[in-house]
């Protein structure tokens, strides 16, 4: 069994379900024979990786899909060994250098040097360059990004980079200007409904339209999440029922409960409870900005209208700091604490007024 997300992932640019004119442009780019470094960015679940793989397939043919998983190790200047997993085919190499933590600079430099210093043997048959796909460029340190900049220029003859990021705000200007930026925006709800219907048809299931729409709404325009939800619905109930409940991800329910706990009581002890819950979420790889966003939405929906503006301001402030800072928990906790203070003051005033 493999997940629908992986099973029905489009493999070619002309099989893509949405953003078709962008796909056409990408195809034209490939057909012209050469292309600059690419910076593909967009929200999670929008189809960045799908597009990158389709592009690679367009470039090199089916051989790109014969992948191997390798463990490479590099030695940092401080004699420390850095190990990192790479996925590669004969034509490309994919890596998340952010996994190496503060040693990402070494990984970026060594890996690209390694790939780029070898020319393709049979240049007449194939492209004369290889492709290196770097995931999560926005998680790279500034150092590594500067290293990347130099490497990009040096090995332009034998190597193209495709960078993949959620947002360009943490990518330095120098890299942004050296790349062709491709923004993959999140699919609209209609598009998600279409994809869901199509997938279910391939599975031999009929998905009621109202359920598809509800799944699309709950997925917050994240196609991957929508597909996972649809599959979870299938696992719950074999023939779909139009009124069946859409099961949210566990983390979403957990966050809802957390928000409820914040609203119930405002005290340092409660903050500690909330902190352990936040840690629980973080240690399950839920991105902190997502936690922040969901938490703000949850809290806003159940607090008085006069507070909403202030809470939103706080949320925006701490989300910004979280992007610039290092330890997400500091900012999440600061937001919760500030919210508690604001909310408590408001409630006290309401009680006083009632008296």
């Amino acid at each position: 069994m493999s997940l629908w997300v992986d099973k029905y992932r489009p493999k070619r640019l002309d099989k893509l379900d949405y953003h078709t004119d962008q796909a056409d442009r990408l195809r034209a780019l490939v057909e012209s024979g050469d292309f600059p470094h690419l910076l593909v960015y967009g929200p999670p679940g929008a189809g960045k990786k799908t597009r990158i793989h389709a592009l690679l397939r367009e470039l090199y043919g089916a051989g790109v899909e014969r992948l191997r998983l390798e463990q490479q190790s590099f030695t940092a200047p401080s004699k420390r060994k850095v190990e990192i997993e790479t996925v590669s085919s004969n034509f490309h190499l994919e890596v998340s250098p952010g996994d190496a933590g503060i040693y990402d600079r070494v990984v970026v430099m060594e890996l690209i040097k390694q790939v780029a210093s070898v020319n393709q043997l049979d240049a007449s048959q194939q492209r004369e360059f290889k492709v290196v796909v770097l995931n999560e460029v926005d998680r790279l340190t500034k150092d590594a990004q500067h290293a990347l900049r130099r490497t990009m220029e040096k090995y332009m003859a034998t190597c193209r980079l495709i960078l993949c990021a959620n947002s360009t705000s943490k990518v330095i200007q120098a890299i942004r200007s050296r790349c062709l930026a491709v923004r993959v925006s999140a699919p609209t709800e209609d598009e998600i409904v279409q994809v869901l219907q199509g997938t279910c048809r391939k599975e031999g299931l009929s998905l009621p339209d109202s359920l598809a729409r509800r799944i699309a709404q709950a997925s917050e325009r994240n196609l991957r999440r929508a597909l996972l939800m649809a599959e979870a619905c299938r696992a719950q109930q074999q023939p779909f029922d139009p009124d069946q409940s859409v099961c949210l991800g566990d983390w979403q329910l957990y966050l809802k409960e957390t928000a409820k706990k914040v609203l119930e009581e405002q005290s340092p002890a409660r903050l500690l409870i909330v902190r352990t819950r936040l840690y629980e979420l973080l240690s399950h790889c839920v991105p902190p900005d997502l936690i922040m966003r969901c938490l703000v939405t949850e809290l806003i929906s159940s607090c008085d209208g006069t507070l909403k503006a202030e809470v939103l301001t706080l949320g925006a402030e701490y989300e910004h700091r979280m992007r610039l800072g290092q330890k997400a928990i500091f900012h999440l906790e600061a937001f919760v604490a500030r919210f508690m203070a604001v909310y408590k003051k408001f409630m006290d005033e309401v009680i006083m007024a009632d008296w």
Binding site: M1, S2, L3, D6, K11, P44, G45, K49, A62, R66, L67, R68, L69, I84, V87, S96, G98, D99, G101, N135, E136, R139, K142, K170, R224, L228, M229, E231, A232, A235, Q236, C247, G249, S267, P268, A269, L272, L281, S283, H284, C285, V286, P287, R321, L324, G325, Q326, K327, I329, F330, E333, A334, V336, A337, R338, M340, A341, V342, K344, K345
Partner: protein
């Protein structure tokens, strides 16, 4: 001040003639020096030369003079810690009860005794003196071994030699360490697990072997590292643990006074010096005696300055704070006690900046620890100050983050955060005093695995996968893992966490 030690030092004592044409001497005299003779001066002056010199006294026998000089120089070069070390158990700095405990322990001769305590608490001397007094037939391993490089083999040889051939019934091993050769280290690598490093594993292996081979010997290990040997290992071997505490301040002062008396100095006139030396030594008798020697010589050279200030300037020991202490100091923020009438907040005992400097830990680490422990200290009503403090911590993290600002702002970050904490944790904001353990910040999976290669490739979504799909996935992940080893195809399986298993399959299909 030079009255007592001066007669021992120079070979002869001369009073130079008033007419001596020595400019240095002239300046001395004009400065109102009276009788002032530098040692150098007296050696240069030939004993019988200066004709009109009025001899006060000359050593009748030149040999005698030389002997005295030798004795003097030997004495000068000898450390006071050796010279005035305790000669009997009565002179030990150890607390009486502790001494009794140690004595009882040694005289019952268990297989293994582990004496631990801070450096300079008097562990080794106490064990030695007790063994001598009790006539236990003790031998000292460190006399058998090289000062530095002992492999496990040499140590074992020495132990067996002492136990078998010298018939030692108690073997004392002070500061047991082994230096491993490279090959041994390699060999020890596989023994290494947890936090215990290779050489303690080697030490354990050595001790195990020795205890198995020599059954009638009492082995006494002395170390200032109480985690040298793991507790469960010690328990397994029925070891008797004796913990020696740092020497009490009063005891330190008493011992220092005793030394002064031996040097024919009046302790009362050096009271402030001794007190500051004892304070600086912080329970370490060795440091205290060396400190006294050093500062007394210094004080005798610079006769003018007051002994107390000398001690302060020279002797202050810059003890680094442990992480635990630093966090405690920041959280508890003790203030100087002031008169009840004075207004405003009293100054802090430890300035936060100084604390962070002296613990010399990475700012991030210290901040994490303080942040993890701060919230507990607020009283249940103090939500607003807590919110303000969290806000400042968030700002501090923003400052100390390496991404945008360089590391220059790190001191400011710790300053901002800790000052904010200190000024908000006052008065009724602070929870009533009770025991609060210092906790480690919650350990996230290391930044690297945050979105491991795996989670990233499937899109950070480990937690997104609904629970009902996970069991099926786990099963298929296992089968795919089995298949992968055979097929060598384009399948790979990723297990980011034991309970959340994901699979990503890329199949070769050309449709």
């Amino acid at each position: 001040m030079s009255s007592s030690s001066a007669p021992k030092r120079p070979r002869l004592r001369l009073e130079l003639p008033p007419s001596a044409s020595c400019s240095a001497f002239d300046t001395f005299r004009s400065g109102g020096g009276g009788l002032a003779i530098s040692r150098q001066r007296s050696e240069q002056a030939p004993p019988s030369a200066a004709t009109p010199a009025r001899r006060l006294w000359l050593c009748p026998d030149d040999d005698l003079g030389r002997q005295a000089a030798d004795r003097a120089s030997e004495e000068r070069s000898q450390l006071w810690t050796d010279r005035y070390g305790p000669a009997s158990t009565e002179e030990l700095c150890l607390h009486k009860k502790k001494l009794l405990e140690l004595e009882a322990c040694l005289s019952s001769r268990p297989r293994l005794v582990f004496v631990h305590g801070p450096c300079g608490a008097g562990k080794s001397v106490a064990v030695r003196l007790l063994c001598d007094r009790l006539r236990l037939g003790s031998a000292y391993l460190d006399e058998e071994l090289d000062a530095c490089a002992n492999g496990p083999a040499e140590a074992m040889q020495a132990l067996i030699r002492l136990a078998r051939f010298r018939q030692a019934r108690v073997i004392v091993w002070d500061e047991p360490t082994l230096s491993l050769s490279f090959a041994d280290q390699q060999q020890q690598q596989h023994l290494k697990f947890g936090s215990s490093s290779g050489d303690t594993a080697a030490l354990r292996a050595l001790l195990d072997e020795f205890l198995a081979r020599c059954r009638d010997v009492c082995l006494v290990l002395i170390s200032c590292n109480d985690r040298l040997l793991p507790r469960d290992w010690l328990e397994d071997n029925n070891a008797t643990l004796v913990q020696v505490n740092p020497v009490a301040r009063t005891q330190l002062i008493r011992s220092l006074n005793a030394i002064l008396t031996k040097r024919h100095l009046r302790p009362a006139s050096y009271k402030s010096l001794i007190e500051s030396v004892a304070a600086a030594a912080d329970g370490d008798i060795r440091a205290a005696v060396s400190g006294l020697q050093f500062s007394l010589q210094f004080a005798l050279c610079t006769a003018g300055s007051s002994a107390g200030s000398v001690a302060k300037s020279v002797l202050f020991r810059d003890t680094p704070y442990q992480l635990f202490h630093a966090v405690g100091k920041l959280l508890h923020a003790k203030r100087v006690e002031t008169a009840p009438g004075s207004s405003g907040l009293a100054p802090l005992v430890d300035e936060p900046e100084v604390v962070s400097e002296r613990c010399s830990l990475p700012v991030d680490l210290l901040l994490s620890f303080v942040q993890a422990n701060a919230a507990v200290h607020f009283s249940s009503e103090a939500v607003e100050p807590l919110a303000r403090m969290s806000d400042d911590f968030s700002l501090a993290d923003r400052l100390s983050a390496a991404w945008t600002t360089e590391s220059d702002a790190k001191p400011q970050a710790i300053s901002l955060a800790s000052r904010s904490l200190v000024c908000r944790l006052v008065g009724s904001n602070r929870a009533p005093n009770r025991f609060l353990p210092i906790r480690k910040p919650h350990k996230l999976p290391p930044a690297a695995t945050w979105a491991t290669a795996a989670a990233a490739r499937t899109g950070v979504d480990a937690f997104y996968t609904p629970a009902c799909l996970r069991s099926g996935l786990a099963a298929s992940a296992r089968s795919a893992a089995a298949a992968r080893s055979g097929s060598g195809g384009a399948q790979f399986v990723i297990c980011p966490e034991p309970d959340l298993e994901l699979e990503a399959t890329i199949e070769d299909d050309d449709d």
